[in-house]
Every structure is written in structure tokens, then in C-alpha cells.
Symmetry: C2
Subunit: 694 residues, 2 copies
């Protein structure tokens, strides 16, 4: 599946701040911004010329779902489709001990029956405005790198604040091409979102962790929600017309969605750094967390229900990271990366002007990476895990940040972003104390292993107690599970935080200075230097190749293109599509057990299903985590499928796209209608999708 | 698929003559001789103790089919099953321009309708007698290596001659464990074999070359023949009882068949030699032959029909060799081979007696390999291709060999083997002149490329003509397509051959001295030394590990064991079985086109098929080319499936067995009954298999 993989803060910083460039591609490569679609490639390779109206319609039908997924409107009445695994967090939050929507699925045959989600925010990109001049204009030549960084932050805070006040729209500054371009993206926001339909988790994630990121595949990984405004279904003029026949082999298709991050344009030294200093540690940490959560799940069915979503996410991350790491360990891939960099560097060095302006940047980044390594080590172990601590930490940090002028604040606390931050902070989603305890205790135990029990930070937190006792005391003592308490503390600001006797707040107060110190150290010695160096490499890239390339992914709306096509796999060919025949085969091949057990209705009603109906399919479209739930669209702008995964061969795509075997995996539009009508008795939903007048 | 892969004479010599040893395994490894079944492993791992009666029954139900496959009796009336691809040669030979049995399939509902095969010989192993003392007793300490080799040959010729005269049975001397053991194997032979049923090639080889050697798989790769004696169905008391329910996941199963050759026990130096001096050349040669045959097939439908079998075999070999070569290029595999040798060598060197007796052998083999390399080069290009030339060559060589005393002859011309040799030589199978021409012309062109046109051998053959004209003249001039002519020349012996004006015989007469010189050089400088060294290593291996190991495969009857089990594949799990659901899925996934097009009856009658019926399955049984058509047998000695392939991960199994992913691929017994009854209207055949009384 293709949600944004969980990453440590340090790794995220590395992934987004330090980026460089590669040679323009001739393959179906690229996650293109809507201001610079791949017109040349589409015309030359597919003879297709998108109109501005076509592009606008696709963009306005596309949705950013929550903080890790994508989706699209599929009716004029706010109906939208995304993946089950994108909606899964909401399904989990709407579930109780006695009603497990993740497992059992859900269908609201009427508007009345739709369930309001606790904290799902949708964003639709309504305008894009380039503000490179305004942002970079704030940086003066005499400034130190740190001053330049602060100046950029102040400028972006000002722009977003003005935009929000003027338009009422969510306004974000996004940077592309290593900070060579800055854009103001304005989003229409929906926060009243209701659950319409979800199939059983078993069919949405058929094949489980083993089949995840593989193909041939047989999942119906879908979830329908409806956006509301003023208590009524939103009127969504821009929506994708449903095409039940879907796309055929070799047909040109598009994916419009929100890829989270790629590292294709980083320097060779940065890629090596990730290979040698990042992946093994991250994989080790994930393995520990999975073991912990499985231990918790083993305590009983209710614990298993609570832990399921977390295990699901962790295993997904584990598979992603393992696949990416495998790519980095592949000598051929690294040789290609090296060659790409060499080509750019040779061309820069061949021009005296370019050499002077940009030639220094590679070495600067390499030097900073050495510093970076020591920082990563310093950062280890000085944090606490769990949702309750995360709330405490946000409250403490908000109080601190909100004292500052808007332009000096961390991005998420700037005026333009406050509403979204509060929407998440005040979510009424359930918190499970037993699970919180376990996570905190294990995190503390791990910190002791890393830092030793004499570490002053740990001594302070533990105050002579065992990690288990400390966790127990913290969870028992805190009132943060109560949304009203959070609101009081937030409204009370610095005074309330300072006066609070909540033990979790107390811990967060202790951690805060460490985090702040770390952030400031990073900004002063790492980010400020790399920002400048990366910017130089971005400009070098423009100088050499122009804008015939696409920027690395940044969880902003992108357009990918490609064709429906099989690929060489394990000694043979993977087909372009699978069918319901294949679903039943795979289930029975494994004795209809475990990860391959079918929901009961699939067995009971097998004879009613047209087994030759296409189920899932692959295309050469270039995606990455965050694209989950993106619509697959044909030339006519119609909905022909929904992205839910990449194949195993696509995982090194974070670093290099390889058209030979990199594939996007999608649910076919035909299978959705077939399932709704034949298996779920959801004819009225199918009618709404197919535009059947009643 | 798992027939013996085609190999050059030099490579075959290397593979069979130069063998060494590895550590005994704890996995489901080994192709065990029936005199030394893996009793210990079966008891410890599976709690199963085979009785002698069980072993005898399995052995006597097993068949060696032709010169590259396996099979088994499945009724008391001579009915046997093997693979379609094992029977394919006979189907091709029984086909004409207007009746293509390979493509259309065949079914004889009554005995009358069964078709007699032109040249199919079956062998059933009826007795095994150890003759190590007799063979090695012929070798005296004072003999040179070459004299020792000659003495062994004379002894084996004598033993087989006596046995044949005494018993009337086919009698072969087979050596195991590097020539540390010699056995007399006696076979009951059937040469009146008739075709009973074959499905369409399209379903037998569903998925074509792409799916070959992969899994999940969906082939019904079967062919039924019936052995006759005195014009009546043979009474076959030993046959495998059919179990339609087949085997379940994790069930213990056995494979009884004829693995062709493995190289697991060769020295590390020999393995390196194959990696560095053998595979690339062989792959290049195969690619050339495939290109040639495809060119021929492109000339028209009848040419395509004629070439299909050859292309099929060549592509199979190409895939096998590529997989084996990949194994050799894998550093991990080579490291394991190195470690295995080191362990044995260390233990030999730790004992002064062993060190003196065997310690020299590794270095001797390494030295001989250097000589071997120069020989391989000398051998290149001095041969002619095609079936007509092969006949001419055999006739010329037979005349030469039959002048000698029995004990001095090449093995295939010894008295005990003459009947089988003549059965093949006098086969009435069709010969296609246009194809013969093309093969000869291309072979000559390749020789010119390699040797240069000044080569005396080539100058002599071509006599100023182009390769094309030479080939045309040879094929037009020869009468060897006529079986009666062959018989006359054979009966006429040396005088008739010397007097013959047949141009193909003339060429064979010119080539013969070169072949003889080459063989003698090889025996004197290569085989004689390596035979002694390998024998020493065989004895060393016995000294260290005893007989807890199995010998390399030698196309003799072997017993493998294992369980029905999936494996990790391409990021997920391959299931233990597939079903008819999966067959239809794969066909429709590729649009029911090309290699994945179903025979018409499968589409017309889809609704009558029970789609959940198991189709193919995998097991950990250890096999290699030659095992094609072997029965898969349960503990009760019942037929539960038929081997037809290994997975892609099994190809390096020539050098090292890896239980993690090495799998045997078989057709499930249930699918055969389902297909016969529902799709082929072959109820009477199904009744015979299931022992239904009429």
C-alpha cells in the first residue's frame, strides 16, 4: 500500500531538506506539478495534449485526505473514494469493543446512516501562485545562512497569514526544485466528513502483509466518504465521471494524487549516507515496535483490535524500508545514481560561470553530512512514545511558540496552520490507557539501553522508578484523554502550562528544552548550510536541463502518467490485470485461511459474481507513499481505478524510477461496481457512481 | 519443465566424469538410490519407515521414458502417464501436415484407436546388483591411468554382455559416488508403446516459455501411453493406485524418477571452471540456434509446426542454463560451495592416512582443468548438425566400433546396448529436408566464423561451395531418410560404409578420425586422470561421512522426498497449490492471448468445471531435468500427482539444494480426473485410472 511511511523526525528532515537533481528522463517517469505538466512527453509518447480545462478539472476533483493519503470526488454530492487503508484510522476511531468497523465493514444506504468522522480533514487544491520572488527576496546577500533561514520562514509566515485572512482558504507555502521555487498553494478544506461505505478489512487488505507491495494482487482496497458543508452533502461540481469498463491494456492513464516524498534528486553522498547511517537503525526500531505491539495484541481480542491498525502501519513501513534499503544495497542502482550525478557535475564544471556559482555545493553537502551523523546520535532516546505524550508535547510547544511573532514560529504553529493543528489536537478519537502504558514503558526501556540509566534526562523522568511504574503513574495521573482539559490548557497558554500539575505535561516541559536545543542546533549547523547548497544545486539543475524535469515529491498534488502494462517478474511475466477468478484462486490456494481468508459473503455469493470481471491492474505511472487512494483517470478525465499500492520492484523508486518493472497497483473500476451490486447490496451507491437516475 | 537439458558432448563429459562431494544435508535434499533410501531422514523428520515391499513396489511402478524423461504405470493394463513434454517428440513424429497432434491433442476411447509410437523405449528397473569388486578388480596397481580406464571399460562390457545373454534384460553398468561404487542395473524394456491421450499443447504448456520454470502455475502437462507386449496391453502387476484427492499441504510425498545429472559433488575448481568457461559459450550457441529455428518457423505454418518441438526444447535449455548460470554468479552460493569443500578437505588433511590417500586429488583435478580448457577450444566447429548427419555419423562409427572386441567398444556399441541403439537408428520418424539444409548450412557458417575458411577440415567439406550449396547438395544427395538404406549400411558393416557414395556418409567418414582423435586425447589426458582423482575424492567422502549422502544424479532411478509447501516469492508467499480458478484468471489476465490462450473447450465448458479443484502444486522434493513425468506418491504408495517442472529458484539446484525456495512443480491428480471427465469426454480413461469397475 502507498500511504506515507512513518519516519523519524531526523530522517524526515534529511529527506526533505537535502535534495539535488538527476538527468531528465525519457520514461513514464515523474510526479509533475500541475503548473508544469509533462506536455512534451505526453505528446511525443502518447500523442495526447491535455487542455487547461482538463487539467483544472482533474486538479479540482482530486483530494488530499488527512495527513497521508489521496482521494477524489466521484459524484456531484460530495461523495469521494479513497483507500480502505487511508480511511482505516477513521474506521478504527469510529469502532468500539462491540462494533469493529475495520473488520466488519460498513454501509450507509441513506444519508441519515452515514457516520461522522472524528478528525478527518480533506483538502482540495483550488489555486497555485508562484511566490519565489517574495520568499527569496527576503534573503539578503549579507545574511548568515541561519539568518537567511529565519528570513525565509518569516516571509512564508507572512504570505500564508495574509492569504488565509483574505481568502479564508487553507494556505501553504510549498517549495520545489530544492527551494529554487516557492509556491502559495490554497486549499478548500472539508472537516465534516462522513463514512459511507467500507468493505471488510479482510478483502480490502486481502493477502495481508505478505501480499502487500506485490502483484498479481486481489484487493478491493476502497472506502467511500462524503464531504459535508453546513450539515448537508457538499455540492462538488468537479468530480470524476465513473467509467465502469475501466482501462484496457496499453491504454494511457493518469494518476492525480499526493506523493509524500522522494529522494531522487539528492546527491550521491546523501544517498550513501542514507544507506550507511539511516536504514539499518530505522528497520531495527520498527522491528522492536512491531514485536511490542504483537505482544500487546496477544493479550486478548480487544487489545488485538486496538493494536491492529498500528501493527498494520508498522508492517507496511517495514516492508517499504526493507525494499528501499535493498535498492540502496544494489550496486547497479548506486552506479546509476553515481553516473547521473557525474553527468550534471561535469556539465556544471565545464562552464566557468556555473562552476563558480554552483560547483561548491556538492562538497558542502558532503561536509554537512558528517556533522549530521553526530546529531543523529545525540537525538537518540530523548523522547517519549504514545498518543498522550504527543498531546502533552504539542500543548507545551504551542504555548511556547504562540508567544512568538507569527513569522518566528515553527510552521505548524503559524497562524495559517492553527486551525488544522487544533482540529487534530482536539480530536475526540479514543485513547487506550493500557496500550499507552506499554508504549511509554518500552520507549523508556529502550532509552535506558541506549543512553544508560545514569543519563540525566532519564534520571529526571524516572525519578527512581522502573519504566513500567513510571508509565503507569503517567497514564494514571494525566487528564489529557479528556478533550476539554486539552482545550483549557491550550486556551490558558504559557501560564496554564507552567501551572499544570498534569504529570504528562510535566514530562513534556522537561523534554521541550532538549527538543528546542536540538532543533536550533540542526538549523544552525545543518539545515541552513544544506538549504543554501541544495538551492545552488537546484539552480545548477535548471541551468543545465531547464524545467524538463519534475521536482521531488513533497505531499503536494502531482500528475503522473503511464500505461496499463505487465512486467517481467520472477522468471515470467506479471499480467496487466487480475480478475475475480484470481481472487478465489489465491484464497483457495492457501486453504481460505489467515491473510487469504475471504469474507463470508464472497463465498456465499460466489456463483453470482461474474468471475472474469477485472479486479486489480498495474500501470507504469510513477507514484510513492501518499498516492494511496489517488484516482486513475483516462484521457477523457474519467475514473477508471484507484491506486492502492506499488509492486515490490517499485520500492527503490524513492531513489530511482525504473520503467522496466516499477508499477502502480490499482483497484479496477469494474470490480468496485461488481462488488457493490453483487456482494454488498449497495445498489444505490453504485447508482450514484454510475450516474443512474432514479 | 524438467527433461534433461541438451548439452554439448564436452560439457556432458565434464558433468558426469568429474564429481566430488558435499556435507550431508539435514534438509529434504537428495536423489537417493533405491538400495540406500534416506531411512534416517524419513524417520527423524517425518516419522515414516518405508518397508522393502513399499520400495520395491514404487521402483517397479516407475518407468524411464525414452532418453530424457520419467513416468509410471497407473493401471494393471500397461497404462502409463508421463508429461506431455516428454511425449511431445512422439506426438510430433505421429503428426503430419494435416494432423498436428501436438497442437490438437489426441484421445483413443478404445484400444483399437491407440497409435503406435515410432521410437519410444520404456525401461523399468527390475534388479540392482553391486559389481564394484568386479569392475575395480580389473584395475591393477601397475596400470597407467589410461590402461586403468580401458580395463574398467572391458570389465563393464563383459558384465553387461553376460547379463543380457543370461536374462534377456537390458543391462547397464552405472557408477555412483564418483566411481566408488559400480552397479549392474537390469531393466525390463518395452518398445511397443502406444499413444492413449494427450491434451492440447496449449494447456499442457500453458503460459509457454515465460511461465516455464515458474510458479504459481496452471499446466496440465500430461500424456498417457500404453505399453504392449506381444500385441496386447502389457500386464503390469506393479502400478500406482490413483488417489484423486491428491496430497494436502504439508503432507509427506515422494518422487520416483530419473534425474539426469547434477554437479553438486564436483570440486570448487570444477564449479568455477563451469562458471568461467562453459555457460556463456553454451548460452550463446543456444541463442543462435533459437534464432535460426524461429527464422525457419517464420517461413510458413508447416515449417512452424516442424520447428515447434525444437524451439520448445531450445528455449527450455536456455532458461535452465540461464538459471544455473545465475546461481554460479551468485557469491553466496559460491561461498557455500567453497565452505563445503573446505570442511571436507580440512577433515581429510587432519588424518595422515587420509591425507596421503586422497589429499592430492583436488590439485590433480585443478591441473587437469587447465588442460580441459584447451581441449574445449580444439573441439569447436568440427561437427555437422541435423538428424541426417547424426544418422550418418552413427553408421560410420558403428562400423568402426563393431570391428573391435566388445570390451574395447564405446559404451553405446557394446553388445548389451546394441538393441536400443538400433531401435533409435532405425526409427521411421519423419525427417524434414528443408530444415536439415538450414541446420547444416548454419552450422557450417558458424564453423567458418570460428575456425576461418582456411581450416583444412572445412575446406575439405565445402570443396569450394558456399555453406548453403553444400547443405543443399548433402541433403539432396543422401538416401539416409530411407530406413531400409540405413539398415543395409548397418548390416554391410565396414565394407559397405567404405564403399558408400552417399555424400552424408562421406562427410561422416571425414569427421570420424577427428572425433576419434579428440576422444582418445580426452581419455588419455583428461578422463583417465580425473577418473582416478574423482574416485579418490569419492573414497575420501565415504571415509569422512559414510553413506549418509546421496550420489550425484546419473539418469538412474532415484527416490526424493519432501512435503507439499509454499515458499517465499517476490516479496510474498507462493501458495502450495493452484486451482482451476487460477487457470482462468491467468488466461483472462493476459486477454486469453498468445502463450496464455486457453483451448476452446476450456472456454466452452467453463461452467461445468469445479473451479476449486486443485490444479498444480509444489513440494520440497529434490529433482532435476530427467525427472519430468515422475509420479508424486504418498505414504500409501498412491499416485497423487505428476512432476513436470521446478520453480525458477530451483535452477541453481544443479550445484546446491536450498530448501527455502527450491520446489518441484507437479500436476495434481484431482485436476487430471476433472479435465478428463469434464473437458475431454474421456470418462473411460478416468474410470481406468480410478479403478472403476464397468
Amino acid at each position: 500500500m502507498r500511504t506515507v511511511a512513518r519516519r523519524s523526525a531526523a530522517a524526515f528532515l534529511l529527506a526533505t531538506a537535502l535534495v539535488a537533481w538527476v538527468t531528465p528522463s525519457v520514461a513514464d517517469e515523474g510526479m509533475w506539478t500541475f503548473d508544469n505538466p509533462p506536455r512534451k512527453q505526453l505528446k511525443e509518447r502518447y500523442g495526447f495534449e491535455p487542455t487547461q480545462a482538463w487539467l483544472d478539472h482533474i486538479r479540482l476533483s482530486s483530494i488530499r485526505v488527512g495527513d497521508g493519503g489521496s482521494g477524489s470526488f466521484v459524484s456531484p454530492n460530495g461523495l469521494l473514494i479513497t483507500n480502505h487503508h487511508v480511511g482505516r484510522g477513521q474506521l478504527q476511531k469510529l469502532s468500539t469493543k462491540d462494533r469493529d468497523l475495520v473488520r466488519a465493514g460498513f454501509y450507509a444506504p441513506t444519508l441519515d446512516a452515514e457516520l461522522k468522522c472524528p478528525d478527518l480533514e480533506l483538502n482540495v487544491l483550488v489555486s497555485m501562485e508562484e511566490v519565489t520572488g517574495k520568499v527569496l527576496g527576503a534573503v539578503k546577500p549579507t545574511m548568515t545562512p541561519k539568518e537567511a533561514l529565519d528570513a525565509r520562514r518569516a516571509a512564508t509566515a507572512q504570505i500564508t497569514k495574509e492569504s488565509t485572512e483574505k481568502t479564508g482558504l487553507r494556505s501553504d507555502i510549498v517549495s520545489f526544485y530544492n527551494g529554487s521555487e516557492y509556491w502559495l498553494y490554497r486549499y478548500k478544506k472539508y472537516t465534516d466528513v462522513r463514512l459511507v461505505m467500507a468493505p471488510e478489512g479482510q478483502i480490502a487488505f486481502f493477502g495481508g502483509d505478505p501480499d502487500n507491495f506485490t502483484f498479481p494482487r486481489h484487493d478491493i482496497d476502497i472506502c467511500f466518504f462524503r464531504a459535508y458543508e453546513d450539515g448537508k452533502p457538499a455540492r462538488t461540481e468537479n468530480f470524476l465521471k465513473w467509467k465502469t469498463a475501466g482501462a484496457a491494456e496499453n491504454e494511457l492513464v493518469f494518476v492525480s494524487g499526493h506523493p509524500g516524498s522522494t529522494n531522487r534528486l539528492q546527491t550521491y553522498a546523501q544517498t550513501e549516507y542514507q544507506r550507511d547511517h539511516s536504514y539499518a537503525t530505522r528497520l531495527k526500531s520498527i522491528a522492536r515496535q512491531i514485536a511490542l505491539m504483537k505482544k500487546y495484541a496477544g493479550r486478548g481480542p480487544e487489545q488485538a483490535r486496538q493494536a491492529a491498525g498500528t501493527i498494520f502501519g508498522l508492517e507496511n513501513s517495514q516492508k517499504v524500508l526493507a525494499g528501499e534499503y535493498k535498492g540502496l544495497l544494489d550496486k547497479d542502482l548506486m552506479a546509476k545514481k553515481f553516473q547521473q550525478e557525474k553527468e550534471l557535475r561535469d556539465r556544471v564544471n565545464a562552464d566557468p560561470g556555473w562552476k563558480k556559482a554552483y560547483g561548491w555545493a556538492w562538497d558542502t553537502i558532503a561536509t554537512v553530512l558528517e556533522r549530521q551523523q553526530s546529531t543523529s546520535r545525540r537525538n537518540i532516546g530523548r523522547t517519549v512514545r504514545g498518543r498522550l505524550y504527543s498531546i502533552a508535547s504539542q500543548l507545551v510547544q504551542a504555548a511556547e511558540e504562540l508567544k512568538k511573532p507569527n513569522g518566528d514560529r515553527q510552521r505548524q504553529y503559524q497562524d495559517a496552520n492553527l486551525a488544522s493543528m487544533k482540529f487534530r489536537l482536539f480530536s475526540p478519537a479514543p485513547i487506550y490507557p493500557e496500550l499507552e502504558e506499554l508504549q511509554i514503558a518500552d520507549g523508556l526501556a529502550e532509552s535506558i539501553e541506549t543512553l544508560g540509566s545514569d543519563d540525566p534526562f532519564l534520571k529526571d523522568i524516572l525519578a527512581g522508578r522502573t519504566p513500567e511504574q513510571t508509565a503507569k503513574d503517567l497514564v494514571a495521573g494525566t487528564k489529557l484523554a479528556d478533550v476539554a482539559v486539552r482545550k483549557q490548557l491550550f486556551e490558558g497558554g504559557g501560564v496554564a502550562i507552567a501551572a499544570s500539575t498534569d504529570p504528562m505535561i510535566a514530562v513534556a516541559r522537561k523534554v521541550m528544552p532538549l527538543v528546542t536545543e536540538m532543533r536550533e542546533w540542526t538549523e544552525r549547523y545543518i539545515s541552513s548550510s544544506t538549504t543554501a547548497a541544495s538551492e545552488a544545486l537546484g539552480k545548477a539543475r535548471f541551468a543545465v536541463y531547464g524545467k524538463a524535469v519534475n521536482p521531488d515529491a513533497t505531499f503536494t498534488l502531482r500528475l503522473s502518467y503511464g500505461s496499463v502494462k505487465g512486467y517481467p517478474m520472477n522468471g515470467t511475466q506479471a499480467p496487466p490485470i487480475t480478475t475475480f477468478f484470481g481472487l478465489y484462486d489465491r484464497a483457495l490456494s492457501f486453504g481460505n485461511k489467515g491473510d487469504w481468508a475471504l469474507p463470508k459473503r464472497f463465498l456465499d455469493r460466489q456463483s453470482t459474481v461474474t468471475l472474469s470481471t477485472p479486479l486489480d491492474f498495474v500501470s507504469t505511472c510513477d507514484i510513492i507513499g501518499g498516492n494511496s487512494g489517488s484516482p486513475v483517470i483516462n484521457k477523457e478525465g474519467e475514473f477508471v481505478g484507484i491506486v492502492f499500492d506499488g509492486n515490490i520492484e517499485s520500492l527503490p523508486g524513492r531513489f530511482l524510477y525504473d520503467e522496466a518493472a516499477n508499477r502502480t497497483v490499482s483497484v479496477h473500476s469494474a470490480s468496485i461496481i461488481e462488488a457493490l451490486r453483487k456482494l454488498y447490496d449497495a445498489g444505490s451507491l453504485a447508482d450514484e457512481l454510475e450516474g443512474v437516475k432514479k
